[in-house]
Amino acid sequence: MKREFAGDRMVDVFARKRAWHRRRAEAPLVEKVRILLDLQRQEIPLLAAQRPLRRWERPWNITP
């Protein structure tokens, strides 16, 4: 019984995750560029902690 409940919850979590990815895929291009800039800003400190950054690896200085 408990296991079935957990299984249902997981199905629900995966369905919501798929819907979230779908929304991001169908967002307007300008919104996607905004998401990309966020990804760049989030990742750069992590990359820099692992290895020297390449010269072009920096967040784009643009406003979508």
Partner: protein, 155 residues
Amino acid sequence: MREEGVVIDYAIGGATAVLFYAEPTRTYDVDVFALLPADESSSLAPLVPVYQWARAHGFTVDAGHILVHGVPVQVLPAYSALVVEAIQTARVHYYEDVSVRVVGPEHLAALALQAGGARRRERAWLLLQTARIDRDQLRALVRRHDIDVEIPDEA
């Protein structure tokens, strides 16, 4: 660049092209595939005229990238039959009223599968999951270009 004959044709590829069809994936540069005039594409330094053009028009060239309004753009000569086909069949999209040629989603997925590696396989998977890919067209593409991969009916 095209009007002045420095490149014959071009199309945006890589992760930036994915933005036009699927969920954003991180990248720090814009890959532009270029068909170069025959005498340049066979030379040892095919991109010299491209960089010369960029400098002459006030763009900075740094580490193989042309900085266009703060965005590093890497021009890549068409290096395979698949890339040539991807350029020739590119779709025209608009970003803030500017038209750009962008590699179509099926060719993007095929290029990612052909290049291989974890990140590119992930990109192909992302396209299969969230872009409107014509799977029969993609299957025909991978067959025609000898890419050894099975395209599932559902991703």
